[in-house]
Amino acid sequence: MNPKSRTVYSVLTVFLVMVLTLTAISPGGTAADEIKPIDLYVTPESEDLAIGDLLTHLLEARLSVKVSKKVQYLGVGLKKTARGEGDLFVGLKLPRPDSNIWAKSAHRLCDLGPIYEDVMAGWAVPSYLPEEKLGSLSDLSNPEVRERLYGEIIGYSSEEGLLEKSEAIIKSNKGLNGYKLVKINKMAAISELGRTIRNKEWIVTTIRRPSTPFSIYEVRFIADLTEEQRVHMFGRKDLMAKYPNKVTEFLSRFYLPIDLVNELIFLYDKDKGSAAKKFIDNYPDLVNYWVEGPSSL
């Protein structure tokens, strides 16, 4: 090797070392500026899945935070979030008076408040049925009403608790003699409701709010089978220390009226992939408020 080529060689070596050093340094440098990714847990309920998608979309597109979303049941989700293994959890129904897991984790979480309220389950009828004839449970004992309903209460089989409660009500209520609970699956129930409503016939169905039928049909409850609840989003206890204010303030402002949750579920049932984007297009001002705060008003 002649001296000249040795010089070239050493220059190359120095250059290589510099490149290597810079490459090694720079990921650390940028990582400090980047917002840590969010581990988001959502319950398997369709409204929470739809809301999880909406949150993910907004966090990634508007706030530049990467989100990894996992479906997690309530108990495990609460425990893991309280331990700081997960960052965010959607959605916890409250109040929850007898829950051990809630009593143990409530003070070890960062509450971000309700994301929607007015959650209920019960028996509902299409709004065009005259309220003076069928306004409450006791009206069902009227023979004329029973005849128009063919003595049937239509129940979604996917809602087990709701079906059991409905069975119990039929059994324990003398006025409901002659009624039976007809169990069909959710999609069949929605189309049955649609067919009935198109023909302006009579129907009583078990139903939860939020759900798709509330966004596409006019229905009203005639009996509540659950207490009114609200659904919360929670974070790990140190969420606000871990993420910048623009992220945590977005999460604190995120709040939907129940009608919009019904609509979001409807969009999600129709096409999971486009629901979040469609919703954002439909409500740009609300979304801007969540992201930017009062300056957007």
Binding site: H107, E117, T248, S252, Y283
Partner: protein, 297 residues
């Protein structure tokens, strides 16, 4: 005579009729919202704002009392109090939240980026007193009469300050003087008027930072914690007891800390009525808090 009797009968029936008619209407609004606002300036300012909005926009009566923080937590978890203003989390009120977090209603954070501090007027030279460890210097101790001016004994700020008294050797000769938020402010004002040295336990947001030139002491062990988030806490059955309008207003209520500072400064100047003034200056924000998406789209 007959006419008189007839007139009396008519009047009597009218009274009966209207008495009966108006009774249910009154009964609906009978339950006033009982707010316990701890006597910290920003809490009083926020309570003043809530009172104004709930009374003028929702049409419900609001009563404000000023309990100490410990009894306030007990009262709200016993349903003797409807709304507690304010709860500092995760550090300041951790001991209280551990007891009651699962048996109260959470409405989400009202503001973020709050913190506990120990502060001195800026005319106290930085090279003489800038950190807790400087308090060990004999000349500093003498100028401060070996006193740290505290607030009400049950306050989380006092609990953390007491912990500091135990942990920092520099504080071994000092007394933490309990009092109240107002007494602390009076001492501070007195000291500033006379150019005397003083260390006060304080927090942000607080109007004292606007009224006086203050500097926070460095606190290396971080016993006063980092960023805190501040909540209103409701009785567990809040949503059953009060109309949805109220709980939805409280769920949407979220302010950037700069706005809490402005509101608090206004309250510091004018006292009650600051809430009304602030609301009138920010109609679009109040409109969103009350009406949600309907105020936007």
């Amino acid at each position: 005579m007959k006419n008189t009797r007839l007139a009396l009968v008519v009047v009597f029936s009218l009274v009966l009729t209207f008495g009966f008619l108006s009774a249910p209407a009154r009964a609906q609004n009978k339950k006033a919202l009982e707010i316990g606002a701890v006597a910290w300036e920003e809490a009083l300012a926020l309570a003043d704002l809530v009172q104004y909005v709930v009374e003028t926009e929702i049409g419900m009566n609001v009563n404000i009392t000023n309990p100490s923080i410990g009894p306030a937590y007990t009262a709200v978890s016993n349903q003797d109090l409807d709304l507690l203003i304010e709860s500092w989390q995760p550090l300041t009120h951790a001991a209280y939240m551990e007891q009651v977090a699962h048996e109260v209603t959470h409405f989400g954070p009202v503001y973020e980026d709050a913190k506990l501090t120990w502060a001195v007027p800026t005319y106290v030279p930085e090279d003489e007193l800038n950190s807790i460890s400087d308090l060990a210097k004999p000349e500093v101790k003498e100028k401060l009469n070996s006193e740290i001016i505290g607030i009400d004994p049950g306050a989380g700020l006092m609990q953390q300050s007491e912990k500091m008294m135990e942990e920092y050797p520099a504080l071994s000769d000092y007394t933490l003087v309990p009092g109240s938020g107002a007494a602390m402010q009076a001492s501070l004002k007195d000291a500033v008027l006379n150019d005397e040295w003083i260390v006060v336990t304080l927090w942000q947001p607080h109007s004292a930072y606007g009224r006086f030139d203050l500097r926070n002491l460095e606190e290396p062990e971080k016993i006063l914690g980092a960023e805190e988030r501040v909540y209103f806490i409701g009785r567990v059955d809040f949503n059953e007891v009060f109309p949805n309008e109220v709980s939805e207003f409280l769920s949407r209520l979220h302010l950037p800390i700069s706005m809490v500072n402005d509101l608090t400064a206004m309250y510091g100047e004018m006292g009650e009525g600051a809430g009304a003034e602030w609301a009138e200056n920010h109609p679009e924000i109040i409109d969103y808090f009350l009406n949600g998406v309907d105020a936007l789209e």
